[in-house]
Amino acid sequence: MVRSEKGGHISIHNVSRIFEDNAKQKIVTLNQVNLEIEPGEFISLIGPSGCGKSTLLRLITGLDYPTTGSIALDGEEIKGPHYSRGLVFQDPTLFPWKTVWDNVATGLQARGLLKNKKEEVDTFIDLVGLKGFEKVYPHQLSGGMAQRVALARALVNHPKVLLLDEPLGALDAFTRMNLQDEILRIWKERGTTMVFVTHDIDEAVYLSDRVIVMTPRPAKIKEIIKIDLPRPRLRNSVEFFEYRSRILETLHIVPDIPQPEYTI
């Protein structure tokens, strides 16, 4: 597989994030997180909701700052948002006043490079399979298509890292599986480092090289599970289920077998 570019290396060192609520109470959202993400790796962050996985992602984008510790991309400390780290939200947040083409072109336009790189925009629209939809406005797109546009928009700057915050969370099961394969294909083609936040265990096992299981607040890394399965992975294979149940056990959400309340 020819990789068109190299992914970035992220090192998260002793990162904590403490928020203050209205009553000046300190809320520790992230506690002493250490993690190395290898170039071109596909990482999933998984954990109960409100456990700070999105906070960690925001810290990597540079939209938020750690209270202590530091995060570096390829050895350089992250000090704010930068186009080398692309972001995709659960809500596609496409700019409603821009067509698909203009939305995808945003990154190049913002950096003043659009004039010489117009064909780049077409390439990425093609990459996410939306050729022919260039002139369509976001409100005319389905949820899955909108998320494809959001992907293309994030990729147009050739980011070293792509950060995805539950990007498929709002989609139906079929669209979701379809887009999982698309994301894998794009990842293989481009070699971008992927950090994927999800609360869907199947999704994490299906996509990732490593699954980072986090504890409830204050979030720490509970366990890192390396998924040693060849791709394309079979969602119904025995090994797949083994990984799945291992994550479930780590998260303590495998219930005891329910006892009937009545006696015969």
Binding site: T61, G62, L63, G80, P81, H82, Y83, R85, G86, L87, F89, D91, T93, F95, P96, W97, K98, T99, T106, G107, Q109, A110, R111, Y137, P138, H139, R153, A154, N157
Partner: protein
């Protein structure tokens, strides 16, 4: 088969269907009522004296001619016919009003003069005073446009600065809140003294009245832009300039247009009041002047021109808005 093809076929079958009597009478009503208007105007004896009898009849004849031509075209062109069928009842109603109005005024003299002139008398004002009316209209338009453009532009910039810079908000917001709600026309006595001439004074007043609503709505629009738009733009490499010009402003457009529309309404008011009280030109002045001579038919003529003029401006405004907010097609409800 796709929907379009089905539509085409159904349209074709409709074409071949002969027109029903109901449809025919609906369309035929219009020329009939115009002819009745013409007959009563020509042959009923007048009780009020009017000097433009033949011109009014000629106007009716021209309208009659056009309606007949339209109907003739309509019989071979389905879309023209549909338009006619749709509009014909209303236009007929308009002519019925004209007939009743003319009969109770000019023909029977039932309403007190000079306050309630006949439609023919109002038409007389337009014919006889056309030069003065045209100049007045142009004066009003010039004042309105200059004042409105300045007000909208300054309001737009004020709104963006208010939304974006906390310091600016701290210093300017109190003034905006204090001065903004005062009707601009209340400043007329002061402004007429402060400004060198009545034109600049009125321009200022119109700009002031537009400024308030435009700046408030621009501010609201920019302030309520979803933060995730800014975040996405930042991760795509946007600087502050890009965030303001390419994210905040377009995102606030729907709200800005509400402000521009409100400003336009207020600017009409300010324009006419300013012309009535200070400026020696324009439709507002014309109304005031005609009233002074108790020539109410001229007042009505000016009102008619004003109605047409302002509706046209509003229509153009909506056309521009629809162009710019095209991405909202299907979502916009005003």
């Amino acid at each position: 088969m796709n929907v379009e093809a089905v539509e085409k076929i159904s349209l074709k079958t409709e074409d071949k269907k002969p027109l029903s009597i109901r449809e025919k009478t609906k369309v035929a009503l219009l020329p009939v009522v115009i002819i009745i208007t013409l007959i009563q105007h020509q042959f009923l004896p007048d009780k009020q004296i009017i000097s433009v009898q033949p011109q009014y009849s000629w106007l009716l004849l021209i309208v009659l001619f056009f309606s007949i031509v339209l109907i003739a075209v309509g019989f071979s062109n389905k879309s023209v016919f549909n338009w006619l069928e749709n509009k014909s009842p209303f236009l007929t109603f308009v002519f019925v009003i004209l007939i009743v109005w003319e009969i109770i005024t000019q023909k029977l003299n039932l309403l007190p003069m000079p306050f309630f002139p006949s439609p023919v008398k109002i038409f007389e004002a337009i014919i006889k005073d056309k030069g003065l009316l045209a100049i007045s209209t142009l004066h009003s338009l010039r004042l309105l446009f200059i004042g409105y453009l300045i007000g909208a532009l300054v309001g737009f910039i004020t709104g963006i600065l208010l939304a974006w810079y906390q310091k600016f908000r701290y210093w300017v917001n109190p003034f905006l809140r204090l001065i903004g709600p005062v009707p601009a026309t209340a400043w007329i006595p002061v402004v007429l003294v402060v400004f060198p001439n009545s034109f600049s004074a009125s321009t200022f007043l119109i700009a002031l009245s537009t400024w308030f609503s435009v700046s408030i709505m621009t501010w609201t629009g920019v302030a309520s832009v979803s933060n995730s738009y800014f975040e996405v733009a930042k991760t795509l490499g946007a600087n502050e300039r890009y965030l303001i010009l390419r994210v905040a402003i377009p995102s606030a457009f729907p709200s800005i247009f509400v402000g521009l529309f409100m400003g336009l309404g207020v600017s009409f008011v300010t324009l006419i009041v300013a012309e009535m009280l200070g400026v020696k030109a324009g439709l507002g002045w014309y109304i005031q002047w005609a009233q002074g001579w108790a020539e109410y038919y001229k007042v009505y003529a000016a009102l008619l021109i004003m109605a047409v003029l302002f509706s046209c401006i509003i229509a153009i405004f909506f056309k521009i808005r629809d162009r710019i907010l095209i991405y909202q097609k299907g979502m916009m409800k005003w």
